[in-house]
């Protein structure tokens, strides 16, 4: 677990280095569970609106899988991995603030049946690379005035 500037970043999962979505492999199903990390959420503020493509939609890493609206941002929700959208957290769709309250467990957003996980997981941040990435990202976000 990494705490940089009070941002809790668990080290049991992967992170999209730009969009601050986490991706965790569900060992039982092989699916990728996706959510937003604490630093990304800090820059967004309170989430108030989340939309997702329908279950069964093919998604590509780096392309929109839905939209989100928050106090400090309106924009796309970018898929961290390619595959088929296989699950949507209906609780989050009804109450997006759940993501702010519990970003790493109950506030997961979507699950994806991956098609290129071995290749794409190498493009994500994980393990020992997390602390350095978080430090650099905190500095980048501060320079942008986002946090």
């Amino acid at each position: 677990m990494t705490d940089s500037g009070n941002f809790h970043i668990p080290n049991d999962r992967y992170y999209d280095p730009v969009n601050h979505l986490w991706a965790r492999v569900d060992s039982a199903t092989g699916r990728i569970v996706v959510g937003l990390d604490a630093l990304g959420l800090s820059a967004l503020g309170d989430l108030v609106y989340v939309t997702l493509q329908p279950v069964g939609t093919p998604v590509r890493r780096g392309e929109p899988v839905g939209t989100l609206e928050a106090a400090k941002m309106t924009g796309d929700l970018i898929a961290p991995v390619s595959g088929i959208l296989i699950g949507r957290n209906e609780l989050v769709l009804r109450d997006p603030s759940l993501v702010n309250r519990d970003p790493y467990e109950g506030g997961w957003i979507a699950s994806i049946d991956p098609t290129s996980w071995p290749k794409e997981s190498a493009e994500l941040i994980a393990g020992d690379a997390i602390p350095g990435w978080v430090k650099a990202e905190v500095e980048r976000y501060q320079a942008q005035g986002w946090i």
């Binding site: 108030v48 005035g145 986002w146």
Partner: protein, 325 residues
């Protein structure tokens, strides 16, 4: 999702007077401007051209404010570039921002106990920012005193964005300010006297969600014709005493929007940055177009197309309401 139409008032339960759009057609071209200043990152399927470096919000006081108003509690200041954290003057900060592509700034900040944002300490810098850097300058003056109004007249600012409050109880209970509506009216008169373009804002539902001083504020503003008027709607913010406040009902918002269009037929009226998000935002944004407003900040998904359907040609500006380059 919970029903966004508070108290069960769906958007279809109020009537829109077609005269409002006729007023718009009589006084303005068939264009609408959508604004996306750098205060918030913004991208929809209809607009992806925001450049948050183009127009930057600066807080002269960082996250500090002596008033700590009930609806804000300094939350808005936290998203701004903090001058106290910059090693240099306001001019030097603006020069650094200009080097990164900024063409304009909103100079804001927390207020002192008398409701004034401390602009007076930076007048010389602001004059240089305007003359030497050529930047468009908007300011949040708070409730400016005579000296500040006079000094603002020396800068050639693009506009003074002043929240106008029309009821004593709201000034005291929400802003914690020992002032009266008459002092807001006097400030508007002073700004007019010193030929400072004004961009007054009215916050619908500022009194803990209740409509209270909005009509008084509109009356005061109409007496001192502004450059443009911006209406916003209470946006309950987490971590503030108003987090659970309910914004005004859609029919109340619709009534006030229509009254505004009729009272200020030749004044551009904009829907500003703050309003409830989600489905309610979509309804408010459509309403703003239906009643003939001239622009919208951070329009909801689908609103650009909705404007086109009303034969309005959309334009986009990455700056505060009414700023043009």
């Amino acid at each position: 999702m919970a029903d966004p139409f508070i108290d069960g008032t769906p958007p279809s339960s109020f009537r829109i007077d077609p005269k409002c759009f006729e007023i718009r057609r009589a006084h303005f071209p068939d264009q609408i401007v959508f604004h996306a200043p750098g205060l918030k990152r913004y991208k929809t399927s209809e607009y992806s051209g925001q450049n948050s470096a183009e127009f930057v919000s600066i807080s002269l006081t960082g996250a500090s404010c002596a008033l700590s108003c009930e609806h804000c509690k300094m939350a808005v200041l936290k998203g701004m570039t903090a001058l106290p954290q910059f090693d240099g003057s306001l001019f030097e900060l603006c020069a650094a921002l200009a080097d990164r592509g900024a063409r304009g700034v909103l100079v804001s900040g927390g207020s002192d106990k008398r409701g004034r944002v401390p602009l007076l300490n930076h007048i010389h810098d602001l004059i240089r920012v305007r003359r030497e850097l050529g930047m468009k300058i908007r300011v949040h003056p708070g409730l400016p005193d005579a000296e500040t109004c006079r000094a603002l007249g020396d800068i050639d600012i693009d506009g003074a964005m002043m929240d106008v409050i029309g009821h004593q109880d709201t000034i005291r209970e929400v802003y914690h300010l020992d002032a009266s509506p008459e002092e807001y009216q006097a400030a508007l008169a002073l700004l007019e006297r010193y030929q400072v373009p004004t961009v007054p804002h009215i916050i619908l539902g500022l009194h803990f969600g209740r409509m209270l001083g909005e009509w008084g504020a509109l009356e005061m503003i109409a007496a001192h014709p502004p450059k443009l008027l911006v209406l916003v709607v209470l946006m309950p913010l987490t971590g503030t005493p108003m987090a659970l406040a309910r914004p005004p009902r859609m029919d109340q918002i619709a009534d006030f929007f229509q009254l505004t269009r009729k009272e200020l037929p030749a004044t551009p009226v904009m829907l500003g940055c703050a309003r409830p998000l989600g489905d309610l935002k979509v309804a408010i944004d459509r309403l703003a177009i239906d009643v003939g407003f001239n622009g919208i900040a951070y329009p909801a998904e689908g609103i650009v197309e909705y404007a086109r359907m009303q034969s309005l040609e959309p334009h986009f500006v990455n700056a505060c309401c009414g700023v043009t380059w």
